[in-house]
């Protein structure tokens, strides 16, 4: 049986009459990179705060690294976290800010410079936090989360404000940590990012867990699509009609036909096109991206 780093059972948080999280059930396997997705206000940060002992649940239970969240002191020394953006003392330098947290957690101060190096802030470590750009603040937040050399890393929107190379670096850091056995639980709005790095996903919508499992399982459960492109654009309408007459659901998008069908239908489509005297320039099967799946599942396609 797979070991779990995080397990939530009916985890609930109610503010007044509004449920920020309602009966949340999910598991995050140990050593995995697990994405945590959901529209704004769906309960992601509330859930993370409950897992870190900052908020008391209204109901249900959860365990982190095998310990109940009612005793955060038992597991937090092994957990690194960056919650809802980096929060530091503006008048202290990046280095001093990390030293405050290192002293508080009882970690060696030598780790501070190693981590500043790791997040590419070594040359700005002595500058005051208030002079940092958003990307630098974010990197410092990640460095702070790595202070305990964590077994579990919880990151809330770690790539906010980072440029493409910064995003790539964070992805690299996350992968390195996962390779060394660290479990990473990461929320992000950049779903294409999560699709690339996450083996597991927990998806929230309006305070409810609507999916928890392997990313592949989620994506393969979605309807695939066949994209066919005739050699000549003038054949698009004819081909669409031919396929439509044969019972396929077809739409024309950007000079190609999008056909709601599984891979097995490729041969049939090719044959129907050939019989109509149309040569296909290309035919391919595509699975919906995580983003498309997310929008479909959450109904949030704005």
């Amino acid at each position: 049986m797979e070991k779990v780093a995080i397990s939530a059972t009916d985890l609930t948080k109610i503010y007044g009459e509004r449920a920020a999280l309602s009966h949340g059930n999910f598991v995050v396997p140990e050593g995995s990179i697990c994405g945590f997705v959901g529209p704004n206000g769906s309960g992601k940060t509330t859930t993370i705060r409950m897992l870190l002992g900052l908020i008391t649940p209204s109901g249900g239970t959860a365990t982190v690294l095998g310990e109940s969240i009612s005793h955060p002191e038992k597991y937090l020394p092994q957990v690194g976290a960056m919650i809802e953006g980096p929060a530091f003392y503006p008048a202290l330098s990046g280095r001093e800010n990390l030293k405050v947290l290192a002293e508080l957690g009882g970690f060696p101060l030598s780790r501070v410079d190693q981590l500043l190096e790791k997040v590419d802030l070594a040359d700005r470590g002595g500058s005051k936090f208030k002079t940092y750009s958003l990307g630098m603040k974010q990197r410092l937040g990640i460095a702070a989360a790595l202070l305990p050399n964590p077994n579990l890393l919880i990151l809330d929107e770690p790539t906010n404000g980072l440029d493409p190379s910064g995003i790539q670096e964070v992805r690299g850091i996350i992968r390195d940590l996962a390779d060394s056995g660290t479990t990473v639980f990461v929320s992000s709005h950049i779903l294409s990012e999560l699709e690339v790095i996450c083996e597991y996903l927990v998806m929230l919508r309006e305070g409810k867990v609507i999916f928890s499992g392997r990313t592949q399982e989620l994506l393969s459960g979605q309807k695939p699509m066949i994209i066919a492109k005739p050699e000549y654009d003038v054949d698009l309408t004819n081909l669409a009609k031919t396929l439509g007459d044969s019972g396929f659901s077809v739409s024309i998008v950007d000079g190609s036909l999008q056909i709601d069908a599984a891979q097995e239908a490729s041969a049939t489509i090719n044959r129907l096109a050939f019989e109509s005297g149309i040569t296909l320039a290309s035919i391919s099967v595509v699975l919906p991206t995580l983003e498309e799946t997310f929008f479909e599942m959450t109904g949030d396609n704005k």
Binding site: L54, T56, L76, E84, Y89, A91, L101, L104, L147
Partner: protein, 263 residues
Amino acid sequence: MIRVVIAELRKLRRPTLLLGTIATVGGLSALFTSIIFLMIDSENGNGERGERISAAELSNSMGLVYGFKLVGVFLGIVALCIFASQTAQEYSLGTLRNLLVRQPSRMKLLAGKFIAMKIFALVMVLFAGALSVAISFALAGRAKVDTSSWSSSGAMQLLFENTLNIFISTLCFGALGMILGLLLRSPISAIAVGVLWSLILENILGALIKSTAKWLPGANFQNIGGGGSLDLSYKHSLAISALYLIVSGCLAAILFKRRDVAN
């Protein structure tokens, strides 16, 4: 808890706060002590509320601590502001969540924070006292004050007692600031409420209904710093102050322990 104290001291010793506090406290200490010696012949008085302190009075062993005693209440207000802002800023900056992830025991965090601020307040009081004593010696000649009794054991004991009283008074004001910081979670609100109450509202209340002064927190904290007065005994002030701080401190601590950290 020692880790919390060390971490807090790192924040408190940042140059802007440390040097700013030293400059403020040093300035106040220098100002009040200088007034006593430089305005010794002024008809408007050279002491608290226009009181005239003569060269003869300054020549006795108490003369060494007059200036320091005057600055005591202001040290309390400075401590109130620092304790309040250092506590409330953890909420307003959002740094409390980082602290609690690294130190989940909220009571240890609170106690460590208070101990660190006590150390800071002690440094502040000792600096103000040392500066006041140095200025007193420096200006005594000009004010024709005989300083021979200032180095007696009686004067040293008075200096020690006054330093202790001012330190206790400063801690009381500081604790009030910390409690307000925990309750209001905003540095500006906590400082505004604390200073307005201690410096203005209590004085208005005390002037309107004289008997209330005996029971108001600020008046009692201030009275501790002065070593007691004819109207209000030192022991009474200690007891009332302890009562206020224990009750409000427990309330604030329970709130801090139980309240969700949602910002």
